[in-house]
Amino acid sequence: MKRFLIIAIAVIVSFALFGSAFAATADEIMKKSQAAFLYQGKDFKARVMMKLVSKGGQERIREMTMLRKNFGEIGGNQKYFMYFFQPADVKDMTFMVYKYPAKDDDRWLFIPAINMVRRIAAQDKRSSFVGSDFTYEDVSGRDIEDDMHSLMKEEKFGGKDSYVIKSTPKAADVDYSYKLSWIDKANNLPLKEEYYDKRGELYKVFSADEIKDVKGFPTITKRSMKNLQSGHTTEVSYSKTDYNIGIDDSLFSERFLKQPPKKWIE
């Protein structure tokens, strides 16, 4: 009887293991992609240059240092610290986000001209980030559970084997009706995303334009988001990218919002 039980358990366990390995479900692909895209390393730093290009070709620059630290498991809490270099009217401003899955962020803004740290209302994660075509969610990630994911097909994209995932928001008040993502099978990074509006027309396209290996982590160092309806595009490039640099928890505080340490923001 005892032996029978052991065999039974072994069979069940091996089925469970093999089963999950074979059926790489859409949810799992998206989780892995989120881990590769937004949660790599214990912490992360980059000098971010955003170029906002209007339909008429006018360019505006948003330049900042972005620091991120993970708290807890993949897909869990994160803290972001941003210091702005450009444009001139926001220079020395700092911005801090405590990101929680499944609830609203906490956000703080420091305005140097009046030496004031203020909490800012942050209900809509689909709002534009600093006026760009990227939303807050595009910067810090969208909860996997907010969408229904399905694996549409597998195909080569830009010479890379990739999964094509369709993600449909569960909530009705999202600006897109569904999104198609091309996820690189090798490194799980999104190579391209297409956002379709309520009428089912393609209106926004994300593309990963350069991927580099940083400390063993494949990292998208150039990306763009193009709004096909407005003709507005945002191009983003990362420099001075680094991981596991030992960012202290205390950085994410009012003290350092007011006096950002040079060693972290340069």
Binding site: P87, D89, D124
Partner: protein, 444 residues
């Protein structure tokens, strides 16, 4: 906005400069300005050698700022404000030190004078668990939006009512700030040896209530700069259950002048003074109700007249505000606040208040609404800020449009509309000062 004008004791027309705290301003002719700028730029000229030792940056702006009254000023002029201004910000870092200088030079078309001012100038020294800032610095406390309870630091209401950029509402203080950051909470300790009063509108440019307009002999008495008069302020803050909690303490002076007539029945001279004040307060701000909820309270201990029997000194008060801010749709935010202040020993106050002077209410109340809509990739900002006192019936409405033409140039136009209430109430007395303003800035 915490009652920029007091109803009993009125800032008046005869000696506006004495009330404006112009101790830090000095007049310069163009030649002197040039010399000053050379001195200011001297560190920059030395940059090549200096930069080996420190990390130096220089930024600033050129700005035009004009405000036109909808009717002529008391002195016959049309403009509440008309100036061109240049600001330079020098920032030099060499761990663990930092030097920061923010200097403005401007030409005022109304008074036809060139002036300059050191807006901020301090040295920071930073260690892992503490830091020190010494020099002229701006300190902002509390969670109110243009309502100040625990922010007991000097304000420039003339700037606010004249349509200058918001940063000019805050004045720096000359003092020392020590920050301490043990694990369980953070602390700020501030000592200010040199008293700096609030700045109120110039009575040549603004119509304001004056209970004794015929008395022209006026004098202002600042607290002397000595150890006993050094102002102290402390704040302790930390996170409590995901909200930002602070407690505050201040021991110093009211920054609004209160008047002492030499003889009530036959006044020939008015002396303005700044009575002693202590403030004990607390604030809490956190995410709630799909938005940000703020709460702040403070007790104003009027140390020179705790019984409330001296009409030349304000009575003690307890003040509180509650605020709520929420993003209703993309790039649109609404903020509402309710503020109330309660006067202690009101019956003593009523008894002591001389007959000819208007009386404050026992309970004052104010509601504010701020609407902000950003458009065109957050380069166009429409905002509406309004104050309405439910106890007095007076109001201030400030609509503004700001557009960033490029990453370097922005311009704003707006207006300040005052009215309602009594001829002595906070905004009611400004009813004849409605103005339309323009700000244009090139930033580098």
């Amino acid at each position: 906005m915490n009652k920029p004008f007091h109803k009993r004791h009125r800032e008046t027309s005869a000696t506006p400069s004495a009330l404006c705290g112009e101790t830090r301003e000095f007049r310069l002719n163009p030649a002197q300005l040039c010399v000053y700028f050379l001195l200011l730029f001297f560190p920059v000229l030395c940059l090549p050698s200096f930069s080996y030792a420190a990390d130096v940056s220089l930024h600033g702006f050129f700005q035009g700022n004009y405000s036109l009254g909808t009717r002529s000023n008391p002195d016959g002029g049309d403009f509440k404000w008309a100036e061109e201004r240049v600001q330079l910000k020098l920032d030099a870092n060499k761990e663990p030190f930092r030097l920061f200088l923010k200097t403005d030079a401007f030409y005022d078309h109304i008074d036809r004078k060139a002036d300059m001012e050191l807006r901020e100038g301090y040295i920071d020294s930073t260690a892992s668990k503490w830091d020190i800032r010494a020099g002229r610095q701006v300190i902002t406390w509390g969670v109110g939006d243009l309502i100040f309870i625990n922010d007991v630091f000097p304000k420039d209401y003339e700037a606010f009512f004249s349509g200058r950029p918001m940063e000019y509402l805050k004045k720096g203080v000359d003092g020392l700030k020590i920050g301490a950051y043990p694990e369980f909470a953070s602390f700020e300790f501030i000592a200010i040896p040199i008293f700096e009063p609030n700045n109120y509108p110039d009575s040549k440019r603004f119509y304001m209530f004056d209970p004794m307009p015929n008395v022209t002999n006026r004098e202002e008495k600042d607290p002397a700069s000595n150890f006993e008069n050094t102002e102290f302020a402390a704040r302790a803050y930390r996170d409590i259950a995901g909200s930002d909690a602070s407690i505050y303490f201040y021991r110093g002076f009211y920054r609004k002048p209160y008047m002492i007539p030499d003889d009530l029945n036959n006044t020939t001279k008015i002396t303005f003074h700044y009575p002693k004040l202590s403030v004990y307060g607390a604030s809490l701000q956190g995410r709630a109700l799909d938005g940000v909820v703020s709460f702040e309270t403070g007790h104003y201990d009027s140390r020179q007249d705790r019984k409330g029997e001296d009409y030349t000194v304000p009575n003690s008060q307890t003040k509180a505000l509650i605020g709520y801010q929420r993003q209703l749709w993309e790039d649109f935010t609404i903020g509402v606040q309710y503020f109330t202040e309660y006067m202690h020993n009101y019956s003593e106050y009523k008894r002591a208040q001389p007959g000819g002077l208007p009386k404050d209410r026992k309970i004052g109340q104010l509601v504010t609404v701020r609407l902000t809509q950003m458009l065109m990739h957050q380069t166009l900002k429409l905002s509406l800020v309004s104050f309405y006192s439910t106890s007095e019936g007076d109001y201030l409405i400030n609509p503004e449009i700001k557009y960033n033409f490029s990453d370097h140039i922005w311009a704003a136009i707006g207006s300040n509309i005052f009215g309602g209430g009594e001829k002595w109430s906070q905004f009611g007395q400004l009813a004849k000062n409605d103005n339309v303003y323009a700000q244009i800035r090139y930033e580098f």
